[in-house]
């Protein structure tokens, strides 16, 4: 069978108007169904004819899934709310600005105008072997092409790898973990709510999935508690191009500092592993310590403990160390005469 790309295969399209109908359709079509949110990740798979869903369920008409609601000091963000809507929302900017910064660093303006928060956290790995349609572990095969003597893997994992060395590319995920967000997942049997960091799975647990979503599941909303409203935030993303590029690494931290000491803190990094990592060891180590360069240094070193590098991604260790250092200890701003 000769190979051809760039023509989307024909599929059956459904555009339900309610969550109920969506769940019904998901049940009816099981693994044949493909859920389409913003579509910016999906269309690559479809246009390359690598994934061939029989049925595509387009959520664009489900209004219940859109919009940002204020609930008891926190926020509930519909999964289909676009990144732009999130970035521009006054409460997000005022109380949870780290989410705005994270979301705004994703992709490009047009993509943020269409891409959704739910889609951004649920997007698939970007490993160029996997995306190239190479039948690797993540694609149901029995090999990782990105960790071989000839592989080019500068963008791959330094932590939590298990056979597959792909990373999670989401920019909003670490911000949501830092904000102690909760993800609301529904299926026809009911609803479950999980902590942001537990929404994601690594290859050791499920090598073909990025999240806990199984056929029939639908991420409906993301809840942000008031816990970290107005805390001190830090987000930084390092990438090759300043727009339309995935992170080589990103870091997000939320911190409450009381008379110079770190009282409460959450910190997460992404693009270091197949799932966004919450650095609990770092959090425990710096809690109660003064927020200064020394604490930052210590945090940075601790963050990269146990990192395993591949042929081309060794730089990620100092990079993660320095980003965590900045997130905890703060940045020394340049002053040019």
């Amino acid at each position: 069978m000769a190979i051809v790309h760039d023509i989307m295969p024909a599929f059956e399209l459904f555009q339900p108007a309610t969550i109920q109908d969506t769940l019904g359709l998901l049940d009816r079509n099981g693994p044949d169904a493909w859920v389409l949110a913003g579509g910016l990740d999906s269309f690559d798979w479809l246009k390359d004819r690598i994934k061939r869903p029989k049925v595509v369920i387009d959520l664009s008409q489900v209004d219940e899934l859109r919009g940002v609601r204020e609930v008891s000091g926190g926020l509930e963000i519909g999964a289909m709310t676009t990144l732009t809507e999130v970035v521009r929302h006054p409460v997000v900017r005022e109380k949870f600005s780290i989410l705005a910064t994270g979301a705004e660093s994703a992709a490009s303006p047009q993509i943020r105008n269409q891409g959704t928060l739910g889609g951004n956290v649920s997007q698939d790995a970007r490993c160029w072997y996997y995306r190239g349609g190479w039948k690797c572990y993540r694609a149901g095969g029995n090999i990782c092409f990105a960790d071989t003597p000839t592989a080019i893997n500068r963008e791959h994992a330094i932590l939590g790898a298990d056979r597959c060395v792909a990373v999670n590319p989401s920019d909003s995920a670490p911000a949501l973990i830092a904000l102690e967000a909760q993800f609301v997942v529904r299926n026809s049997r009911g609803e479950r709510v999980v902590n942001a960091e537990d929404y994601f799975v690594g290859p050791d647990i499920d090598i073909t999935r990025m999240t806990i979503l199984k056929p029939g599941d639908l991420l409906t909303a993301i809840r942000i508690p008031p816990t970290w409203a107005g805390a001190q935030f830090y987000f930084e993303k390092v990438r090759d191009r300043q727009v339309w590029d995935f992170p080589l690494l990103n870091v997000a931290s939320a911190m409450v500092v009381k008379d110079g000491n770190i009282e409460r803190v959450r910190v997460a990094v992404n693009a270091a592993a197949a799932r966004p990592l919450r650095l609990t060891a770092v959090e425990d180590a710096v809690r109660g310590k003064p927020r200064n360069a020394a604490t930052g240094e210590m945090a940075g070193k601790l963050a990269v403990a146990g990192a395993q590098t591949l042929r081309f991604n060794g730089y990620k260790v100092p990079l993660m160390r320095n980003l965590v250092k900045r997130a905890i200890g703060g940045v020394e701003e340049a002053k040019w005469a």
Partner: protein, 270 residues
């Protein structure tokens, strides 16, 4: 749905990657079916074999306890059993919907199994009666006799067993085959994952060779599901329980020996 799953290689060629995992259900169910059928057969169909009485002078010579398994072979058996169970659990539990980080446990158990098998081969070859586990002419002949008698035809009475009954020997042969297949392919597969032993390199063989190895590993693996089920089943059957005990404590009783074994063919404590 085929027995083997194929994938397109980066060069666009179709290569096998592994077995279809529904085969593990086939084997599990197949194994179960065999137990049930066998249980029914033994319960209702099979006529109890009444072997001729052992001449008293012979039985007199038989001690109260006859050593069946040396300590070494018992240790081996149970190590292997543990490794084997660990391997089956780590291999198939995630496949049936209980995901966990299984790979490291799997290859460690695999190494234990491999080591124990290597030990066993040496031990059996040089320190114990190597041929006692392989079917001999009499086994075959007696098998024929039993078959004829079971099917109501006339045939001379089969003799008693030597150290191991034929079923036992046959089982050993099959599980040896399966065991060697999984361990040999398994050892190579360690090149494909991170281990302290080698730098990871999946390119020591071509896509096709690897594919076949995975298929063999898979087939042997699912095969072992059935074999292990059968093994445990027999170990728990009342008439075989004495043997099971001997795998724990070593000897079998004089009575059991006299009932099932032919002192001509298996002279104890030699």
């Amino acid at each position: 749905m085929g027995i083997v799953e194929f994938a397109t290689s980066p060069w666009g060629q179709t290569v096998p990657i592994h077995i279809s995992f529904f085969l593990m259900w086939v084997c599990a169910i197949g194994g179960l079916a065999f137990l049930i059928v066998h249980a029914i057969y033994v319960q209702f169909v099979a006529k109890a074999e009444h072997a001729g009485p052992v001449p008293p002078e012979v039985s007199a010579r038989v001690p109260a306890k006859i050593p069946r398994h040396s300590l070494a072979s018992r240790l081996f058996h149970w190590t292997m059993a543990a490794a084997m169970l660990a391997l089956l659990i780590t291999a198939f539990l995630p496949k049936v919907g209980y995901p966990f980080a299984w790979v490291t446990y799997h290859w460690i158990a695999g190494l234990v199994l491999t080591a124990s098998i290597v030990f066993h081969v040496f031990h059996a070859s040089f320190w114990s009666d190597f041929w006692s586990i392989w079917p001999d002419k009499i086994d075959i002949e007696d098998a024929k006799r039993r078959w004829l008698r079971a099917t109501g035809k006339s045939a001379p009475e089969p003799r008693k067993f030597a150290k191991y009954p034929l079923e036992n020997k046959a089982y050993h042969a099959i599980i040896l085959l399966a065991g060697l297949s999984v361990t040999l392919t398994g050892v190579f597969m360690m090149k494909r994952v991170q281990t302290p032993f080698f730098t990871r390199n999946p390119y020591v063989f071509g896509d096709m060779t690897w594919g076949l190895m995975y298929v063999l590993h898979g087939l042997a693996g699912v095969g072992l599901i059935a074999l292990i089920m059968a093994h445990i089943y027999f170990a728990l059957r009342p008439e075989k329980f004495a043997i099971t005990k001997s795998m724990v404590f070593g000897p079998i009783s004089r009575e059991h020996y006299l009932e099932h074994h032919d002192p001509e063919r298996w002279a104890p404590s030699e």
